[in-house]
Point group: C2
Chain length 250, copies 2
Amino acid sequence: MYSETGDHSIHVCFSPLSWPIFRQDDALVIITDIFRATSAICAAFQNKVEAIIPVETIAESEEYKRKGYICAGERDGKTIACADFGNSPFNFMNPELRDKTIVMNTTNGTRAIKTAVEGNNTVVIGAFTNLDSVVGFAMNQQRNVIIFCAGWKDRFCTEDSLFAGAVVSRLIEEGNGKFHTMCDSAIASADLWSIAKNDLRGYIEKVAHRHRLKKLGLDDVIPYCLEMNTTSCLPIYKDDRLVAYDYLSL
Amino acid sequence: MYSETGDHSIHVCFSPLSWPIFRQDDALVIITDIFRATSAICAAFQNKVEAIIPVETIAESEEYKRKGYICAGERDGKTIACADFGNSPFNFMNPELRDKTIVMNTTNGTRAIKTAVEGNNTVVIGAFTNLDSVVGFAMNQQRNVIIFCAGWKDRFCTEDSLFAGAVVSRLIEEGNGKFHTMCDSAIASADLWSIAKNDLRGYIEKVAHRHRLKKLGLDDVIPYCLEMNTTSCLPIYKDDRLVAYDYLSL
């Protein structure tokens, strides 16, 4: 399975802390933050928002708010003062958001996006809800792939690594020898995925983030975030924002 | 299995890069660098050396050499100029080393040891070759446990994480509820261990470090390093050096 010979490498970066080790200049970077930023972003594009502008600081959100933008944002699970709503995927399903541009501020996800946008990288958003689209896009790129787990406060995070493992497994198994990986964290992710995939919800029950969300009363989104392929959208970073990848025009 | 209620926590730190997140002041820290530093240190104490002084820089090794110490040391698998021999466990089995103090300089292992020695931590050396001793010691401590993987150039490293998983599994399964863990990386390590444990050598075949060692011609030690419980010694850090833990006097 772990071919050493394909033209394009696959790496998994377990947390933003490790990005300086894994960074490349001309790679496809798939950002994932399953609970909940990237699942929410996919929900937003499924709901046909125009764009999402990811920001890192409260000051940036406040500045955009003053300019009249719709703002979403949380810190440690609590909606920030200047935001219209928090980062639950359910908040992004409101039909009134269609064709709107939303400014989004998250604890871990935004930072990962901002970090990966460097060199000539292509940065896309991955979640279980758009897994097929992410894999299909990666298959059609002539680039190395890095799956960048947003993690939790710079830590390794199970649900993000499981998503990474799902992508690694698919690219190796379905890539017709196009991809290789000798990356320990990619192989470990694929192996964890092989344990978890038949009962993802059961597996997630035992991990820490599940319990953190529960404590904060934010665990209502877990079944939604673990559902596979509920959308075909592929959010991609262009200029300063995320837009829906248009298979025809790009 | 993953009790939330035991008095003492278990964490796994995947690389020195993550130590600032996991560090505690009064923990038992188990350092592991399976290929090859901690396996070599255990081999040395099995051979009844007096002490091992871990150093980080070439300059330190040269200084000790001038003072007449026996020096072992490598950089990227090559013996450093001032050293008497490299870091293969086999080099530490020489009967002439009995009762001697050896200065040891390694790429990843020494750094992890030096990093963990802070606060009121107890720092011990773990390898598959002394697994039972490490587990037994941890069971008898009234402390939180951190398994600190030396990794490979700050990366997650499969063989070190597998060792961590073996320790986590044992402490949870045999600890009579003394330990709890809600640490994602501890749980992932235990799950990877559950996949690998019945064919550790086969599993290690597929991971990157195996291939790095092979390329450097250093892979002759792999079977030795993956053998369980070939020694009952437990190297422990005391003052500026590692010594054999004496079950009677301490």
